[in-house]
């Protein structure tokens, strides 16, 4: 299979190269109208088919690697490093993306799959899709080049073939790891598509803004994947790493957050271009930056420039990424300068208090957040370059800067929908802002009365202060969004005589994009409430003899014993803890510690009891070698489940926004498509 896989990758590379070159030549000939022997349309059609064929070839290569994992083919270095015979089947499948070469292959395959769908649907706008297809072929060519030369997943092992492999990294042997990386990659890779459309539209001087409508679904689907990928990663970190938190500002986390921030900014500001013909240059650079940030993130973490707890494979491919980024940036700048006059805005922002301004602020804040995070990510590299010593930025620094920015974004999420386009009168502000402001202040006072105060233990507590602001803002934003639903639904109820539920349903169907967006905003509010809960986290740690008790919040944990188990893949030790609440036994928790046989590495498996108010999170840290007694660490993390519920709401909102509205959407009709005889 190694020979077949390598050959399939070389074939895919050749097909991508043909797609790139023949497609570019064809588009040039069509643009200049030069007479040629072969019709340029015919040449473009073969280029498109080469792109489709490239997908089949990459699929064959991915199949070859998965086959090799399942066949325990230890003649391949990649299989030796990332699998072993006793590895369960579902983790064997995830070995495909557990290492550098495999994840690059997954990247290339997903890109080919996106390109495949794009090329099959090209009749929607033949010319724009041809440009986008060629640009995607260029990106695909780069990844296939990596896979064929410096990072081949089919490289053979030197020397004798071992009987068994080293096994999958224990951190990755967790069910979510089977879906988290593909989702994250679907998001990362997916931004190549709106990038390709935007660059293509700019190259061909696409008249009007219809290309935005055409690419909207691509951008939203990509954003949804990236959102789910980022939050699944958080959940994985929470459930596996055993430190009680879900976000540690690790470089890999930061790398996934940066394109999410710029992608979110793009999703908002592109509406301004579509509706008002504004912010054209800004949008182009937002999507360019988003794509470049996906490359930068990969270069930072996978290229070994910064270290991370989950940069599972590092190699010198960082320099390849750097070169590719320089090329992409040069192409973007060149095209932008060449077509600058095409990006003239049709109108300007007229008032600071308008929906346009809210969008603009939202964008500026998202970009500020991205730049701050980028600074933190690059600081170790810059400090090493300037001072000769690598200085890393800790989570406290990120929190100190990012939390106020996040709260300001939350504020804008509530204010934006209430403002009209162009300008706002005082009367309009009074009409729309009274209720949300009342909700905000009422919640703030209620929180203070309930003891959520910024002063704690005789001093100012920054975390509690921000939590108080977050709860108050959340109430204001929820009121603002719900008032939008209530207002809209009441008109429909008046017009149709239906009840409030049916009217709300009709309202959402009428404008899925807007109300889907509001549902996403509600999801964000719920997530922020979950984040705010971290200001009240508690923890306790104890070495526990049999029947010793550990008190945390309303719970009392009693050690009732320990047990051991063995599987072909790992040996494990469980601590058995009975959990009491108000003096009554409620349930048992069994945190464990595993030792994986193939790699000899140990891994804690956290036990989590989740209720809406908080999570009881228990870690078995092993036994004290001196006393032989288990060491138990327990955390009481308030409102964590709100984060996961909020993400589900965000996903639901995006799915709603992806549906076609009943009254508004007319399918983007491109200039007439003709069937031309070859």
């Amino acid at each position: 299979m190694a020979a077949f896989g390598s050959f399939a990758l070389l074939l895919a590379l050749a097909l991508a190269a043909y797609n790139l070159l023949a497609g570019a030549v064809a588009l040039r000939l069509i643009a200049t109208g030069q007479p040629t022997v072969v019709s340029p349309e015919r040449l473009a059609a073969t280029a498109r088919r080469a792109g489709i064929a490239s997908f089949y070839a990459v699929t064959a290569a991915a199949f070859a690697l998965v086959w090799s994992v399942f066949a325990n083919d230890f003649s391949l270095a990649y299989i030796v490093e990332h699998s072993n015979r006793a590895l369960p089947d579902w983790y064997k499948f995830s070995a495909l993306w557990s290492g550098q070469e495999g994840s690059l292959l997954l990247w290339a395959w997903l890109l080919a799959a996106y390109g495949f769908v794009l090329r099959l649907t090209h009749k929607r706008d033949v010319k724009l899709y041809a440009y986008a297809g060629v640009i995607l072929a260029g990106i695909q060519f780069f990844f296939l080049l990596l896979l064929c030369f410096p990072a081949s997943p089919f490289a053979l092992i030197r020397g004798a073939i071992p009987q068994d492999g080293n096994g999958l990294n224990p951190l990755l042997q967790y069910p979510e790891m089977v879906i988290h990386p593909p989702l994250l990659y679907l998001g990362f890779v997916g931004f190549s598509v709106p990038f390709a459309f935007a660059l293509g539209a700019l190259m061909m001087r696409y008249p009007g803004e219809k290309w935005i409508k055409i690419t909207r679904v691509w951008t939203m689907v990509t954003w949804l994947f990236l959102t789910c990928g980022v939050f699944l990663g958080m959940h994985w970190a929470y459930a596996v790493l055993g430190w009680g938190g879900y976000w540690g500002w690790d470089p890999v986390e930061v790398a996934s957050l940066m394109p999410w921030l710029t992608g979110t900014a793009f999703l908002h500001s592109v509406m301004m271009q579509e509706k008002k013909g504004m912010m054209k240059s800004w949008n182009i650079w937002l999507i360019f930056s988003t794509f470049l940030l996906t490359l930068l993130g990969t270069m930072l973490t996978r290229g070994g420039l910064v270290s991370s707890v989950h940069a599972f494979a590092e190699s010198p491919i960082g320099y390849w990424f750097m070169a590719f980024m320089v090329i992409v940036l040069a192409v973007c700048i060149f095209t932008y300068i060449l077509q600058f006059d095409h990006l003239k805005n049709e109108r300007q922002v007229e008032s600071v208090i308008s929906r346009e301004s809210a969008f603009l602020f939202n964008n500026l804040v998202l970009i500020a957040a991205c730049l701050v995070i980028l600074w933190g990510a690059l600081y170790p590299i810059l400090s090493q370059f300037v001072e000769g010593a690598k200085v890393t930025v800790d989570a406290a620094w990120y929190n100190h800067v990012a939390v106020p920015i996040g709260l300001f974004l939350l504020f804008l999420a509530g204010v934006g929908p209430l403002l009209p386009w162009r300008s706002t009168s005082l009367k309009s502000i009074r009409r729309n802002f009274v209720l949300p402001c009342l909700a905000l202040w009422f919640t703030a006072l209620a929180c203070l009365a309930l003891g959520i105060q910024p002063w704690h233990n005789g001093g100012f507590d920054e975390g509690r202060f921000y939590a108080l602001i977050a709860f108050a803002l959340a109430a204001g934003v929820v009121t603002a969004i719900l008032s939008e639903f209530v207002r809209g639904a009441s008109i429909i109820a008046r017009q149709t005589g239906r009840n409030c539920f049916a009217s709300t349903y009709l309202l959402i169907r009428r404008n899925t994009r807007r109300y889907g967006g509001y549902i996403v905003h509600l999801g964000v509010v719920v997530v922020v409430i979950g984040f705010a809960g971290s200001a009240f986290n508690r923890s306790a740690e104890s070495e526990m003899a049999l029947h010793d008790r550990l008190l945390i919040g309303p719970y009392e944990l009693e050690n009732v014993g320990a047990t051991q188990d063995s599987t072909p893949n790992y040996d494990t030790e469980y601590a058995q803890l009975d959990v009491y609440e108000n003096g009554a036994k409620r349930f048992q928790m069994t945190p464990e510690k595993r030792v994986y046989l193939a790699s000899g590495q140990s891994q804690t498996m956290v036990a989590i009891h989740s209720v809406p108010v908080w999570d009881l999170y228990v870690v078995y840290e092993g036994t004290n070698p001196a006393t032989g007694q288990p060491i138990i660490k327990a955390f009481l993390n308030p409102l964590v489940s709100w984060i996961w519920a909020g993400v589900l709401l965000m996903a639901l909102g995006t799915l709603v926004a992806l549906q076609r509205s009943e009254v508004r959407e007319q399918r983007a009709g491109p200039a007439a498509i003709e069937e031309v005889k070859s």
Binding site: F4, R42, V126, G208, E274, P420, I491
Partner: protein, 94 residues
């Protein structure tokens, strides 16, 4: 799978994909350039959408009448100009 079998498989795959790429098609899609009229019709569609949104928000009691009138007037003016040009171009096209 032996190396030679893998290579045979690879060669067959290559043959199939090259044939797929270069197989002469009877027809292929082409697209005429977007005309000014196409662009204006698109723009008109967007303006109609903006006006519909504005009317709906006004009915929902979001804006006082004077704000509504101030926002509606420029949209209607732009729409009127577009419609006039569209009509002119459609007449010219016969």
């Amino acid at each position: 799978m032996t190396e030679s079998l893998g290579l045979v498989g690879g060669a067959l795959l290559a043959l199939a994909l090259v044939a797929y790429t270069f197989w002469p098609e009877k027809f292929f899609a082409a697209q005429r350039s977007k005309s000014r009229l196409d662009y204006l019709l698109e723009r008109q569609q967007q303006l109609d959408e903006n006006l519909r949104d504005l009317n709906f928000e006004f009915s929902a009691g979001k804006y006082p009448p004077e704000d509504f009138a101030a926002q509606k007037a420029p949209l209607e003016n732009e729409s009127a100009k577009l419609l006039a040009e569209i009509e002119l171009l459609q007449k010219a096209q016969g």
